[in-house]
Amino acid sequence: MGPLTADAPMLQASTVTLDVLHTGVLWGWYVTMNMWAKSVGTGVLLVGVAMMHRYGNSRAFYRRWMPLVGFVFIQVTLLFTVLDLHQMFRFWHIFVFPHRTSAINIGAWLLTLYTGLLGVMIVAWWKKHERLYDRLLLPTVVVAFFATIYTAALLGQANARELWSMPTETAQMLLAATLAGSAAFLLLGAPSDEESVSLGWVLSLSASVALVIFIGEVVFAPGKSEEAEYVIHTLLSGRLGVLFVSGLVIGFVVPASLGFFSAKVNRPVALRFAAVAGLAGLWMVKHAWLIAPQLLPLS
């Protein structure tokens, strides 16, 4: 694969004839895996608690899977976070030399706290300490919420990368979490048809709203700056066009449609298909969104 660059959408009269080559993509699929796995890892808590509140008699299902799935996927998140470091054995520096203005640092503390809380919840579930489990629910949901949105703050701090700093990024992170969380429960098999339908609604609404926001972003961002126009061009019709557009269709259009119409088709199969499509498309869109701004020349 040659050097990754975008096609310039504008007419230029001069040519750069000597400069260093573009540094290319530094945050690649490891970072995509980080964001994707975190969506599942925090989404199961956010969606699970809502489902417990709504369907009290199925609490056992959610009480078991929320901490287990959350813990596993947060470990995946942390694994890819550490693997992506060029000096992975210095990861502990984050805790010894904390820099409070850095979203990465805040996120590392949040994810560590979240991991700890999930770990205790698993033990509480295993030992049937229901009181302890219930006491941990609220703080864990709060931490899950902030662990979900800290990545938006991190992307917002990446001053050089157009699109990442869009104000809608926080909403996109939350929607990715609710999409991924509902998809995870659908794949695990909801305890009742009624709950399947509810999870389908969460999935399809998350996908629909996220899709509308993505459309708004690609429509309005080009007016923001020349750089944003360049990145949107890359995302829609440059080398990332196929990945991004097909990701939108697979990850958002398909789950949104199947969720809305699931009552008229073979519901369990359709909803599981929607869940798989949602998770796959979410990865594709997140990856394209991550890569495109890195193809913008900075010099």
């Binding site: 001069s14 000597l18 000096q87 001053n159």
Partner: protein, 211 residues
């Protein structure tokens, strides 16, 4: 004291002496640059023009790299220099994502971020940065922005076309240019074809140095 740089692009002849001096002074590895000179060609033969732009860290007063660094490896010195502690850096590359000027690189030998430090070690000893010393046309002007009588302050006061790169980013760079236009300072003002067309295409070496 607030140290700053100014490049008079009218004087730069693109000799790259600054680039070489920087590499030698700071032992910058092959395929990495703390300072580099960009060439931009414009016009149609015989009416052609080549312009040169030395580019280095802008040592921003509101440096996004410093803010995003999770371990404070990037930090301010009292004289305004944005310095880097490579022993503390974890190589997360967040600074490279944050810097709008593409001034930070990942050192292939240490696997840590690195960048121009305005030769902080030389400045501490009362010397000028290596690139300033090497420049044959005195295009690189370095000094204290807080001192009204310094050469850089005088230069800024005497020139009406002093610019910084990407002022819209709000980083408040302490690196200025005079005599430059859009093709010098704006990345998208010129066509840029990566690959063999960019004539300093250099591959990475598997090994640097002897046995």
């Amino acid at each position: 004291m607030l140290l700053g740089f100014l490049v008079d692009l009218n004087n730069c002849v693109g000799c790259k002496a600054c680039e070489v001096a920087c590499k030698a002074e700071n032992e910058v590895p092959v395929n990495s640059w703390r300072l580099r000179v960009k060439y931009v060609d414009s016009g149609v033969y015989p009416e052609v023009k080549r312009s040169f732009t030395p580019m280095r860290c802008n040592h921003c007063e509101n440096a996004p790299c410093e803010k995003v660094c999770p371990v404070s490896a990037l930090h301010y010195l009292p004289n305004g220099i944005v310095n880097i502690d490579k022993d503390r850096c974890i190589g997360c590359a967040a600074c490279m994502m944050a810097c709008p000027y593409g001034a930070i690189y990942m050192d292939p030998e240490t696997n840590t971020a690195d960048k121009c430090t305005y030769c902080a070690h030389r400045v501490e000893g009362g010397l000028e940065p290596a690139c300033v010393v090497a420049c044959p046309t005195e295009a690189n002007i370095f000094g204290d922005l807080d001192e009204p009588g310094s050469k850089i302050s005088q230069y800024i006061a005497d020139h009406r076309d002093v610019r910084v790169r990407k002022p819209e980013k709000g980083t408040r760079p302490k690196h200025f240019y005079t005599g430059g236009g859009a093709s010098h300072l704006e990345p998208l003002a010129s066509k840029r074809e990566e690959g063999p067309g960019l004539f300093n295409r250099i591959g990475k070496l598997d090994k640097v140095g002897g046995d």
